[in-house]
């Protein structure tokens, strides 16, 4: 025999047992991927529409006075902290939007600080109590500003009325003028009155609860190109769905308010030229309302739904202690109000160019890593493919939140967005992904997800640990007329860690394409 090289040589020299011993030793060290015997712990949590258990959003994710207030409100009302956190962020955005922007790279890519949040909680979950507590300082500030400017507004209004009356009289005199010289004099007087008529003074407004698209455009023009819509009712969705416009409302005013793109309205009877509109939403609605919202394909296709940061906390209803009464500590409430008032101290009558905050280098690194992580998972076949319209906007939203938190912590004079604020914003962004997945389950996802949900329902109804594709198609033949459609749904479930595919050899028969079910899926029933 020439120099031995292979297992045949080994068998000839040392016998088959030597071959078996060598192979068995190696085989024992090999771990089968997705082995049937794999313990449940090796399966990641499946990500399924409507089945994602969203993690809690703790109040401590917000810094200092804001986190303290959110925690105290949640404690006092016995509501999940996520609601107070989301409303708190919207209040902060209502105060700071349009005056500041964030430029993560320090260049011309900027994100305005407008923020859209939406929390879903069932009726009776004390949403209104949370809203009242969190928005109270805004109401108070508006009232104080209203009272402070009352005398001045009265003086200006009288001056305007006087000027208008004088112009009216001059116009009637013009008709009776004897010669050109007199007419010219009257014209000059009218012009002088118009030139010196004071501009109308309005008490500043920060937020509203209900507004149409047309009125919103006007409000942008009237109140410094910014407005917030803070409401614990879902009426705004009915307006956006076109309750006052025969079913086709103008969504542009809302969408542009999120992006901060210029708005030009030139219609008979009204004009609005706004260079950088900023619109913040802080909504709390019943989960059932979200499903109704999903009925409008326009909302999803226009990117309106992708702009919201969703919180889908588990309701405390049925688990509250009615005898427990914890008032919000006065110190916490006062700190919250004082901090918001300080942020509002320099609100000018006419809003100029927003001040741009860049990110520090470590903050940028942190943010860019997060953005890349999202990007890597939102492509075809990625974990976030089904909600890629939402995840595409998430890094931008995280940058906005980081800047808001920096301003909340440091104050109006913050120069850069720090690593600490970015770290908090990224942590919040990560938590919000699961909430969005849960929300989009209610919002109605794409057709593949609907098919996937039907398969999951079938698996759970029959308690299947594994099944063949053939059985699946046979059982759901009403839904899956073509194998291609079923395969797409099964592939989606595999991407979302609900299933694993494998081929099972059958003695004397063609192989079967099998699907192994994530045991965690069955425990989700």
């Amino acid at each position: 025999m020439s120099k031995p090289t292979d297992f045949n040589d080994l068998a000839q020299l040392a016998g088959p047992d030597a071959v078996k011993a060598t192979v068995d030793k190696v085989l024992a060290a090999v771990v089968a991927p997705g082995s049937v015997q794999a313990p449940t712990a090796e399966w990641p949590d499946p990500i399924l529409p409507g089945m994602v258990k969203a993690p809690e959003i703790p109040a401590e994710i917000l810094p200092g006075w804001l986190g303290a207030m959110a925690g105290a409100v949640a404690d006092s009302t016995q509501t999940p902290p996520a609601l107070a956190v989301m409303v708190g962020l919207s209040v902060l955005a209502a105060v700071l939007q349009r005056r500041y922007e964030v430029a993560p790279f320090g260049d011309d890519y900027t994100e305005p600080l407008a923020l859209w949040t939406l929390t879903a909680l069932p009726s009776g979950a004390r949403k209104s109590a949370v809203f009242s507590a969190m928005t109270a300082p805004l109401l108070r500030w508006e009232k104080l500003e209203y009272d402070r400017g009352r005398a001045e507004r009265g003086r200006v209004a009288s001056a305007c009325k006087v000027a208008e009356k004088r112009i009216e009289r001059l116009l009637s005199n013009a008709g009776k003028a004897k010669d050109d010289h007199e007419r010219e004099r009257i014209r000059a007087e009218i012009q002088h009155e118009r030139d010196h008529m004071p501009a109308e003074l309005r008490a500043p407004r920060l937020f509203t609860e209900d507004v149409t698209a047309e009125r919103l455009q006007a409000m942008f023009a009237e109140y410094g190109e910014r407005m917030a819509l803070l409401s614990d009712e879902a009426g705004i969705f009915q307006i956006m769905a076109g309750i006052y416009n025969g079913g086709s409302a103008n969504l542009d005013a809302f969408l542009k308010g999120h992006a901060g793109t210029p708005m030009r309205v030139d219609r008979a009877g009204r004009e609005a030229h706004v260079d950088k509109p900023a619109l913040t939403f802080g909504l709390a609605v019943q989960p059932g309302m979200l499903s109704e919202v999903a009925a409008s394909r326009r909302f999803r296709d226009s990117g309106l739904l992708a702009r919201f940061l969703y919180a889908m906390p588990t309701s405390n209803v049925g688990r509250r202690d009615v005898r427990r009464r914890m008032a919000i500590p006065d110190r916490v409430r006062d700190d919250y109000e004082v901090a918001l008032f300080q942020l509002l101290e320099d609100v000018p009558a006419v809003i100029g160019k927003p001040r741009v905050l860049a990110m520090t280098e470590p903050a940028l690194d942190l943010w860019a890593d997060f953005a890349q992580e999202i990007e890597d998972h939102q492509g075809e076949g990625g974990r976030y493919e089904a909600i890629s319209d939402w995840t595409s906007k998430l890094p931008g939203a995280v940058a906005r939140v980081a800047a808001l938190l920096e301003l909340a912590e440091v104050g109006r004079h913050a120069e850069e967005v720090s690593e600490i604020a970015t770290e908090r914003a990224v942590a919040l962004g990560r938590l919000l992904i699961a909430h969005a997945q849960s929300a989009f389950g209610l919002l109605g996802t794409d057709g593949v997800d609907t098919d996937a949900a039907a398969i999951v329902k079938w698996i759970q109804a029959h308690g299947l640990e594994e099944f063949s594709r053939r059985d699946c198609q046979k059982s759901l033949s009403g839904r899956f007329r073509t194998q291609e459609r079923m395969n797409k749904a099964l592939d989606r479930l595999q991407q979302q860690d609900a299933l694993r595919h494998y081929t099972k050899r059958n003695k004397g028969a063609p192989a079967s394409e099998m699907c192994l079910v994530n045991p965690k899926l069955l425990s989700l029933i």
Binding site: F7, A14, P16, L27, V36, R500
Partner: protein
């Protein structure tokens, strides 16, 4: 120097020199026997365009290599000439792919015809006796053992012929990459080996299913194909320990295949074993 001479020099330099003189008609793919290939084979291929700029492509279906060539000239080509050259090369690539598909299909048809007409091989074939292994599903044509090479879907692509003296050859033009011969039915583990005798030995010794990959260059392709087919299976690549060959190609390829699919490598150890 003529365009043809320059082109042929490039082919020679790449180690694919034709055994006989070849004609190179304008823009048409020609097949030839390259030096070192067996008689009757036509694994070499070349295509030459003389206009607007002399350029061509050549390669070998045996090794899978492909080269492009362009005449060296002092004249700068115009954008139109470059575009035409690009079109020519694309057309040559398409022709090459079509020709390759045709050759592969011919070989597969020939393999099926030979396989269908052959008788089951017996264990007393001299090669099997010398290796002390059985004929697991093999067939015989005259004194040649036939080992079928199938893809992961079970389609027969080519045949390996093993002579009584152990000489091995494949049907000309057939596809090998990703094709294998399976011995036994896999349960929870599958072994990969290079040659039939090694695979049969492993099957006899362990009772496990074994895939014959035919050569070390095919280990990665087969491993990938089988991993796609059996995503939950445990795999062990049973390497040939070519210690005497520089670079130990057997072990190198086995490690590459194992890395590609998350498997382990088993290497035969002859330490302390008396050589006969």
């Amino acid at each position: 120097m003529s365009v043809e001479r320059q082109f042929l020099d490039a082919i020679n330099a790449a180690g694919l020199a034709p055994v006989k003189t070849i004609d190179l008609p304008e823009g048409r793919i020609v097949r030839y026997r390259a030096e070192g290939d067996k008689a009757g084979s036509r694994n070499g291929w070349a295509v030459l365009h003389r206009h607007p700029i002399p350029a061509g492509a050549f390669g070998s279906w045996k090794t899978g290599e492909q080269h492009t060539w362009r005449a060296t000239t002092n004249e700068t080509s115009t954008p139109a000439e470059r575009a035409e050259q690009q079109r020519n090369l694309q057309a040559a690539q398409q022709a090459r792919a079509a020709e390759e598909a045709r050759v592969r299909a011919d070989a597969a048809a020939r393999a099926l015809k030979l396989w269908s007409g052959a008788k089951p091989a017996t264990d007393d074939h001299p090669y099997l006796r010398s290796k002390n292994v059985r004929a697991y599903g093999l067939r015989a044509l005259r004194d040649q053992l036939m080992v079928p090479a199938r893809d992961a879907d079970g389609r027969l692509h080519t045949l390996q012929f093993i002579g009584p003296d152990g000489s091995k050859r494949f049907l000309t033009g057939g596809r090998i990459a990703g094709c294998y011969y399976a011995i036994g039915r896999p349960d929870d583990a599958l072994l990969l080996a290079e040659g039939y005798a090694t695979a049969a030995t492993l099957h006899q010794a362990t009772g496990r299913a074994v895939a014959v990959c035919f050569n070390c260059g095919n280990l990665v392709a087969v491993a990938r194909a089988l991993r796609a087919k059996f995503p939950r299976m445990r795999f062990v690549v049973c390497a040939d320990n070519d210690a005497a060959t520089p670079g130990n190609p057997g072990i190198t390829a086995a490690h590459q295949a194992a890395k590609a699919i998350g498997a382990r490598v088993a290497v035969p150890s002859f330490e302390g074993v008396a050589h006969v």
